[in-house]
Subunit: 255 residues, 2 copies
Amino acid sequence: MTEPIPLDLARLRRTCAECSLQMLCLPAGMDAEDISRLEAVVQRRKPLTKGDSLFRAGDPLRAVYVASEGVFKTVMLSESGEEHVLGFHLPGELFGLDAIGSGKHRCEAVALGDARVCELPYAHLASIATQVPSLQHQLLRVIGQSADRDQDHVDVLSRRQASERIAMFLHGLSDRYRRIGRAADDFVLPMSRDEIARYLGLVLETVSRGFSRLHEDGIIEVRGRRVRILDVAALGALTHGCEGGQPPQRRRSGG
Amino acid sequence: MTEPIPLDLARLRRTCAECSLQMLCLPAGMDAEDISRLEAVVQRRKPLTKGDSLFRAGDPLRAVYVASEGVFKTVMLSESGEEHVLGFHLPGELFGLDAIGSGKHRCEAVALGDARVCELPYAHLASIATQVPSLQHQLLRVIGQSADRDQDHVDVLSRRQASERIAMFLHGLSDRYRRIGRAADDFVLPMSRDEIARYLGLVLETVSRGFSRLHEDGIIEVRGRRVRILDVAALGALTHGCEGGQPPQRRRSGG
DNA sequence: CGATTCCTTGACTATGCTCAAGAAGAGTGG
DNA sequence: CCACTCTTCTTGAGCATAGTCAAGGAATCG
């Protein structure tokens, strides 16, 4: 465990300038000089595996993070003991920002599988941002984008119909996969039905039935965690709740 | 309408240093010198009345806002035409940050009654933040706090039971009233049942029934928009879903 | 290959939505 | 100041959607 593994060291040495996620991540839009100043504070942590926590609720704000490989979820445990999933964090997406408001993390970040993160010590980041306006601007932007994702979550949860929430979830995930350069219509879900349910404010059975329904209707093909989107337009239409292509629910008028 | 009203002009001239909301607002924790640099960019807009929009979805990011008097709601219109309420903004709370991620506003901000706002042109704010580290820090903090409120919204919407959502809403609102120095257990709701419902992902009838139920159970006293919280502890307990003081729902075992 | 976890599907139930009508407030003008 | 109107709120009855409980099947891991 403590013995140095050459391959890992090589990866740890990788810089932002070489990173495939550069376009998506904090360095986006920064010039070479600025990036090198940013690189000075970026730390690459040792790889994590399924279930590992990056931080827990109550931990003081030390750093913000971006997954370079693998997917994370952030979860909040309600007083009644239920686990609510606040978000899923794909490679290139900044997370851990929940501690900026109060100085303490409000949630826990957990790796959904093997993962690797870049850690950006917050105090360093903020002080460099003072010196490098383009980084400050970029930092505000990514924070804003993170807030946009939270907003999308609110948007999903505001939908009354479970089918709408599920369609929005898949549609949004597909979009995000495209953005990170991965197939948008054929992927393996990194999270369980239960985790999806806890993200959507539903129970896992409802999510499962929702998936089956989309399969029956020929909109997706699903087998376990493998998902293929066959009809993006129809999926998008379901997102709007009202009738799009197929009727969203067999009403008495149809039957 | 266009004639100058002395009283209003006097108010418009008021500075951050004199503002009663100083402790809550952006200037919190800044010294006199820094505040004066901030004041240079703050603009006080002419008063708004019920229904007036401050910005609309699609508008470019010009400024961020803080209500100095009155309450605002931010709303998003879904493709199917429904209005979703994203948040209510009390005096001292920064809003309009939704445009930071993309450069465009994602939602519309509407005054719920007579209101007055301070407008902070974003470009100015960001450039001063570069020069004044304490403002940068403060700016990041308030953005973080705004994200915390969004997170609280997610938390509310994740609850399955309507009664929990309603209890959390009242409990949270009460908290925020206390923070701005107003009575936390006796207030007039600035928003309608319908707006509450659209915030909670429910319909107005459900909200109305929820309020009536809390009244019956002796936890609150409600008459129209006037609310008095009689038993904060019980309200907090309902927030947790599980049984607290009174049973949350009369089950057959009880009747 | 066995054990465990995860997913699917069914039957039943309950919560909250729909539709509907009436009461209470707020605003307006005589 | 009161009558009128319009909006907002309350309450009721019935129904549909999603939750609960339960069991069996698929997939994954050691």
